[in-house]
Symmetry: D2
Subunit: 137 residues, 4 copies
């Protein structure tokens, strides 16, 4: 488990995210991790919607997600992330912890590539600037 | 209850649409009715996405929805609609029936207006053409 | 427009809630208003999930929703509500305002009834206690 | 690419599943693959909801998902699956192809375990029966 994260967002389960098993439906963890990445970008002055309007689309190429413990109605959680660059890819390592005891609930590795006008690129400067230098490969 | 509908789409509940009460979450009826309208339009050769690309946005101004009987996991249903024009508005009357016994589950009245480049219009010709003549007011 | 609300929840649009028109998909306003009601209940010590586990289901019988202005990516908003009792029904009046300028975006009237073990009731005491006395009819 | 699948379900993109990039939001592929598994189970006479009611929860432990090509508004697709057993896990290999040309859009490996009354088990007989004998490890 990483000792520090680049960004952390506190969220709370919404009842409509729970399914008939009484736990958060799996697809919502993708929503949580996406929202966390977008909020991180916004904090850095980068908007996913504005990028799209300029012809730049950051798209997910691959996700690996481990479901450790389910989140349930009323749970609060911290959605945490780090990011590094690997070749063309931005690799986000994202952990979701139930609060207040910080139990690891979900661990995701999300690999993102940049399309400019629909073509794969090496990435864009404003996203590169977000990656901590020591993690660039 | 109308004896006939202009369009009818058969669908089936997906488990992720059910919430912790074991019934379809209310917001999904908006999804069902939206999907039904878009499929109706497509059948008439009109694409919601293409309209948007041309600067024409059909937007919902008002919805009234009555929840009669809940749909549950495994249920199949018929999503039925009629449409008429009232002034600037396209008024969709949409009923959802559980199959095979055709129990009325949801009844919606959806009022839609057309924005062209963001401005309210009297409607557009290709949508007007879909409205049965005897229902135009 | 009411001058005061019983409860107000600040939220923020998540990008996955926006559709191909670039605006929040209509069904999400039902999600927002549902989440607001459940958070209000929780603040009063009442859990929707716990009610369900005890055989009490608060279900929406009818919704009327006016879409005034669309919410978009990055928008923050206040989801506000009042509640009154009308016969068997709990009637929630819910307004969503875009912040910081407090533009009215969505206005909903949500009528809720209580089922106990699947049968319609006059309501339950713990919900009745939430309704301001002067609004009981 | 497998030459045959145990089960295949034809579906169609719904517009509300598309996000502001105009493509199906990633989380919906989890929905598509989940719905496909549940329909496969139903066809075999096994209901996810009924299993839950009996205290048996099939839960996803891990997902790996590759996003090859985006699905868009109006696309039809085939959601295909195979399943094998690996120790305690049911491993679903799931491919989504855009129709009619059968372009691979999404490839998922979904690892599922069975909880009985909340405790991890070796699996349950009725699910074991679904796994082709030659794939059991």
């Amino acid at each position: 488990m990483p000792s520090t994260y680049l960004y952390e967002l506190k969220m709370k389960v919404r009842d409509y995210e729970c399914d008939l098993q009484g736990i958060v439906n799996n697809a919502n963890y993708q929503h949580y991790t996406e929202h966390t990445r977008h909020e991180f970008l916004l904090e850095q002055g980068i908007s996913f919607a504005d990028l799209h309007a300029r012809g730049i689309d950051a798209v997910v190429a691959r996700i690996t997600m481990q479901f450790k413990q389910p989140l349930r109605s009323k749970d609060e959680f911290a959605s945490c992330m780090n990011v590094r660059k690997e070749g063309f890819k931005y690799v986000f390592l994202q952990d979701i912890y139930r609060l207040p005891e910080r139990t690891l609930c979900n661990r995701a590795k999300v690999e993102i590539v940049c399309l400019v006008d629909g073509r794969l690129t090496r990435g864009v400067a404003e996203l590169d600037a977000l990656v901590p230098p020591e993690t660039r490969s």
